[in-house]
Symmetry: C2
Subunit: 925 residues, 2 copies
Amino acid sequence: MAKYVYTFGNKTAEGRADMKDLLGGKGANLAEMNLLGIPVPPGFTISTDVCTYFYQNNRTYPSTLKTEVDQAIRYIESLTGCKFGDPSNPVLVSVRSGARASMPGMMDTILNLGLNDKTVDGLIKRSGDARFVYDSYRRFVAMYGDVVLELKPESKEEEDPFEVLLAAKKREAHAKLDTDLKAEHLKDLVAQFKALIKERKGITFPEDPQEQLWGAVGAVFGSWMNDRAIVYRRLNKIPESWGTAVNVQAMVFGNLGENCATGVAFTRDPATGERAFYGEFLINAQGEDVVAGTRTPQQVTQKGSRAWANLQGVAEPERAKTFPSLEEKMPEACRELLGITDRLEAHYRDMMDIEFTIQDGKLWMLQCRVGKRTGFAAIRMAVEMVQEKLINKEEAILRVDPLMLNQLLRPVFDPAALRGAKAVARGLNAGPGAAAGRVVFHAMDAEEWAQKGEKVVLVRIETSPEDIRGMNAAQGILTQRGGMTSHAALVARQMGKVCVVGCEALDIDYSKEEMNVAGRVIRRGDWISLNGSTGEIYAERIPTKPSEVLQVLLDKTLSPDQAESYQLYKHLLGWADEFRTLKVRTNADQPDQAANAVAFGAEGIGLCRTEHMFFEGDRIDNVREMILADHVADRKKALAKLLPMQTSDFAGIFREMNGRPVTVRLLDPPLHEFLPHGPKATEELAEKIGMTYERVHAKVASLHEANPMLGHRGCRLGIVFPEITEMQARAIFTAAASVMKQGIQVHPEVMIPLVMTLEEFHAQAEIIHRVADEVMKETGQKIEYLTGTMIELPRAALMADEIAKEAEFFSFGTNDLTQTTMGLSRDDSGKFLPYYVAAKILLDDPFETLDVAGVGQLVRMATERGRKQRPKLKVGICGEHGGEPQSVHFFHDTGLDYVSCSPFRVPVARLAAAQAAIRSRNKKS
Amino acid sequence: MAKYVYTFGNKTAEGRADMKDLLGGKGANLAEMNLLGIPVPPGFTISTDVCTYFYQNNRTYPSTLKTEVDQAIRYIESLTGCKFGDPSNPVLVSVRSGARASMPGMMDTILNLGLNDKTVDGLIKRSGDARFVYDSYRRFVAMYGDVVLELKPESKEEEDPFEVLLAAKKREAHAKLDTDLKAEHLKDLVAQFKALIKERKGITFPEDPQEQLWGAVGAVFGSWMNDRAIVYRRLNKIPESWGTAVNVQAMVFGNLGENCATGVAFTRDPATGERAFYGEFLINAQGEDVVAGTRTPQQVTQKGSRAWANLQGVAEPERAKTFPSLEEKMPEACRELLGITDRLEAHYRDMMDIEFTIQDGKLWMLQCRVGKRTGFAAIRMAVEMVQEKLINKEEAILRVDPLMLNQLLRPVFDPAALRGAKAVARGLNAGPGAAAGRVVFHAMDAEEWAQKGEKVVLVRIETSPEDIRGMNAAQGILTQRGGMTSHAALVARQMGKVCVVGCEALDIDYSKEEMNVAGRVIRRGDWISLNGSTGEIYAERIPTKPSEVLQVLLDKTLSPDQAESYQLYKHLLGWADEFRTLKVRTNADQPDQAANAVAFGAEGIGLCRTEHMFFEGDRIDNVREMILADHVADRKKALAKLLPMQTSDFAGIFREMNGRPVTVRLLDPPLHEFLPHGPKATEELAEKIGMTYERVHAKVASLHEANPMLGHRGCRLGIVFPEITEMQARAIFTAAASVMKQGIQVHPEVMIPLVMTLEEFHAQAEIIHRVADEVMKETGQKIEYLTGTMIELPRAALMADEIAKEAEFFSFGTNDLTQTTMGLSRDDSGKFLPYYVAAKILLDDPFETLDVAGVGQLVRMATERGRKQRPKLKVGICGEHGGEPQSVHFFHDTGLDYVSCSPFRVPVARLAAAQAAIRSRNKKS
């Protein structure tokens, strides 16, 4: 018979850390902590199999589940000595979700379950604290009403109705804080809450703890499919099929008085990666108070506390009095906590994120998991843990999401501009980097404005899971409340967003859509700037500058020794290069781009788009003259003017690449892209090149295309106008010969675009070979070159064996291959792709992440067929996907020789390629 | 050792009729005639292997060829008793091309080879006719100069320089006809011709017969790759790899005096298919005089001669004197000829085209081959030969090119309009059908005007192989000279062009670009009309009317018994239906189209495009209102107005199809296609639907797409606007229920367009199933329906196994599948596809004939993968290729269930499907 429930408690457990798939991350780690002898409140985990069953069977449970849960409840009772629902000595439980991957705040949680009008008395008797019990009770009723009974605000404008009643009660009782409310006020609130539920939902609040428990379990399983969770999974690429487990655990209370506390800690600094314990706690509070960011938490260590006070401008006696550290307040529990966190990091060999509660001075661990971190922190931790010999290089490489490298390349404020600027306030540096944008106060506005192309900073009192789309759309996030572990901080860190939290100097008024700060009013639409690395906020738009890494690599304005982040970058990328087998090239059209790419580690140019050169200076006039020519002779005349320019462009690139291979693509875009639009521009051009307006206009009109993407472009230009191919080939080989004369090696790879038949390839290659021979004869310089093609049409992939008879290399143009394979215009799909992603018809934008299932088949097919025909066929990819880690992984697995991506993506591709090599080796062994 | 040369002569031969691949058609049949004991001048064939060798080895020959040719020459010498190059008793030979398939006039021929200044004397002595010998000599020198030494006119304007000298000589000698020239004139001409060659080409005319022979052989092999031959092969889909053979044969002379003749004959009438011998000849002439049409030939039989005279208005004594039949002139040779042709038809079991020469009263057969014929004739012969038990039904089916059926559906002149019209002249009815167009006198003009969309009739004194492109572009062809076997007649028949030849009443002046006929001048650009079935010519534009078959099937204005061509059609198509396994459906959007298609034999509708209905009457306003709606509610309101209209459309179609399956495709085109363009139309629309101009304009602008082909269309509309899908599904099922209530069976197949993922299909199918259930519940009518998809994107083909999980049928949209697979916009490719076809990069327009090598792979793949997932998956095709015979063959071989094509193509598809079934059965057995 299938086992659905796994108990843990008292340093023993039925589960283990490696059972995450079944127990979820939280459940598996609760079990593991027990096995490590760490104090954990007893409980049990309902496995993810039940979630799968739940959704496959119309939201019902396996028949044996009830019995197993009953037994597990008795197990909790036996360890706590209390009874579930017993009026005289009740045990209360929490019911929490726990999926295989952490999804903070996305799913539902219910605390203090088991309270009812009878157990309340027993608990008061046991705790001797009526106020605490009614505070727990009113929290429980509100949570249950919200989560299980779905009593939500009915409109965007309405506040949480439970909060409204609470605020009214506080006014009535002249209470400033929640904690100022007395037991009788809270008891009143419980009754008001229950009445509200009855009124709004027509449901009597369930007094039976069993009914409460099953309601909560159903709500948690149900929350797997709520909108927030779906969006979160999509953003984080978590499969829906995983499901969540449900953890039921005996409550311990951090809100049972002044010798109680609750907190969250990281074994290293999640923002900077520094090897320093980082913890926050609140006295007399429940866990969600810390996470929700409603109160500003205190620091666990004294050192941390002083640093925090310094940042906030809180002087010492005041700090020790108002914000003392746990180390000062409860030294013994703190020592135990630090001991446990050390053991956990050593055991898990990673930075851990833990939750703890101290009840009556006794420490309980409620959760431990691998901690989320910024890109900076991930890189620093990975590199330092190797240096500490905690992990090996492979593990270090696998621990850094390649896209996180982008954070090292993120702009910082222009120091010059910053000198004049004065921060108006300072918060916590939750997400590093510099951002500037216009203020919006609602997540929906952030989405809307961003869609219109505005850069925005989302400013909130605190964020909630409902805000994640808006956070994703914003340049930066700023909150008035909350610590480094608040929702805003966690989510921003993961998204790699610039984020400043807990800036209490702000006074935000949602209704007026403005905020007061340091005596000035900032309104919706005003510019502000955030320094996510320091926490500083500026009431102005501050220009940004390249990162430290860029300053070493490109600007050379910093020496490598000066730049800490450069050192980390250098280590990690160096290790990546040891492991990867896939080469990384870059897409560059100009000598300076080529130089940048080489600095980033590019091993060649995979795509040099010759048409970009056509727009330089006034050569566009020659290009237009060439296009408008009616006769071959006129066209050749115009091409002759372009020849020396293209030659010198290529020479510049060849020199910079210094012997690395350079793939030059022949002219690709439809000719009308080079022509002016509108009567005025047409008239100017006509005058410039001495044609009549009518003739220019007629020519422009005749070149118009219904579907230019599928029109007269690519090698189709060279077929109809072979003289263009000839000019370009001449420029390439002449440049190569001249650079080689200077003693620099050149390996040109001439790429024929948009080939669909061998015959097209042949016709173009014939010209290239002829011109190459001519130039070699004229210059006496032997040039080793390859002639190949882009595979960017499905037909080319299908006919790869044919085409490889003559083509010496393939380069997948995955942008166009995606457009044609999916029949999806990149320029137009913006109108409907969002619906597709929202409706889960597509999980990713196929222009961002390669559609492996569809387009990937053609990539694999073409590679196999091409190599079968020509075993030494060089195969690469030069679409945008060349710098996207998931796609790079696929390209490695498919056996490509190289990926080519934009210069700034070269480090990402290098790391991704190393991960792919390590993972596929691990899979094999 | 390979054998390259095959001799024949004196009723024996090394080759056979079934060795066409090696010997070409001419060579194989010359051998076969020998084996049949028919008199054939001796000779030999150099095989097509030599042609292959020639092109693979830089135009050189196998080393053993020379020896074999020498031996074969000796074989001819032994049979003729003359010697090649012997001054006293020379044998002359002809050197002709002969490919596997006939390519009339496309390649080169040289006659009278072996003549030089010495052999001339021997031949004069032997023949006793100096005039004949010098006539042959001057012909040979001119031919050799043209073909081997490439002395051609140097510009379009220049006349043939040999003809210029001939004309000058005629003026000088006051000779009206060539035959008026005397021996000394002709001898002079030989000298002038040789001098011209020396002057223009710098070459001394070769006197050595061996040199002449090898020059001629090389020229014939070389002519395989001349422009005319290349174009002809492309038009007739003859592979370049086949190559040509070369036939060298002892000359016999039809121009050796009045008891000599040469002629061409068909065993049945090639124009009408009538079972009646049809032959033409010229007294004292060489074969090319008949084919070239320079003299109007006489009829072989007396019956034929009288009919011809009647048509031409030549009275009896005049006929017998000037145009006597061969039967009258040389009764014995004629009897032998008729006996031979009867044997040949019985032996080859097909209508034969033969060439003969009578030298000094003795009949020689020079060539026999299966005769080309019009579509009418092909059908009549096929049907009648089955009735004569000469061939079986399978053979009859295979003998008719399915596209020829179109000739039966060709318009005729509107009889009413014709009543008033008076023919200005009459020629020979070489290509049936009625055509009207504007006169052009040059093939290049025909091409140019046709490209501009003009209908033209090409009028020539006589046509030559250089004219075939222009002939292809013209509606009809009219020549002043030439018989039914002239170049114009042959080529037009094959192209299925309306053609009238030999209309001597015309007096054409190329230089003025006008012609005189019956006292009136017709100039370039004037309208004329041709009746290719009667030979009548009208100096006006006469409206056309449907064919007889159409009048029976569609108009019902003729009874089946009245219509002869309908009887032939009915027989042939009836047999086709016995053999074919592929079903044939039609693409139809309206009840009347559906009715037509059923009359043509359609077994269902494979594609009903719902958007065509959107343009009917004023419903376009409702469509536009729907598109311009900003909110779902407004859109639904507009859709509600469209619902009853679509419902009644579907009901009409379902009624007409009377139980046959009907595939309805949901809305496909991008919405902007329904909107007005330009300010005026926008303003009108705005007023009509009560919106501001600005709003309508903004909406139109926002719907603009860069690549609409790859844009927001197909099921992407239904995903974003599910209410459209819902309306259409409701219309389909409501219509089905209402028609079924009337006792008519309905089998709707709902087709979701442009699917690329299973998820899209699922989302749309969900709506369809829900609406179907609702309608069935509301009406109490059970409807059996299928839900399927078009496979028109490469990704859909690649993911066919996935999509078939839910799709119950596939229908290949090969138009769009071709566009996306090849990255080729149908609308734009006209600008470069002609270059592609000219440069032989593509052999066919892929929108006409399916690209089997590329697109075909996806069709095969999707069919296999889909059927693997769902063995009973119904698979069809509804692109234009569904009515193209070659493509239909592929679809049969791929195992599709049906093809769907336009109503008029249904007969073509039925015949093509039968041919495919028979051919693939023949291949297996």
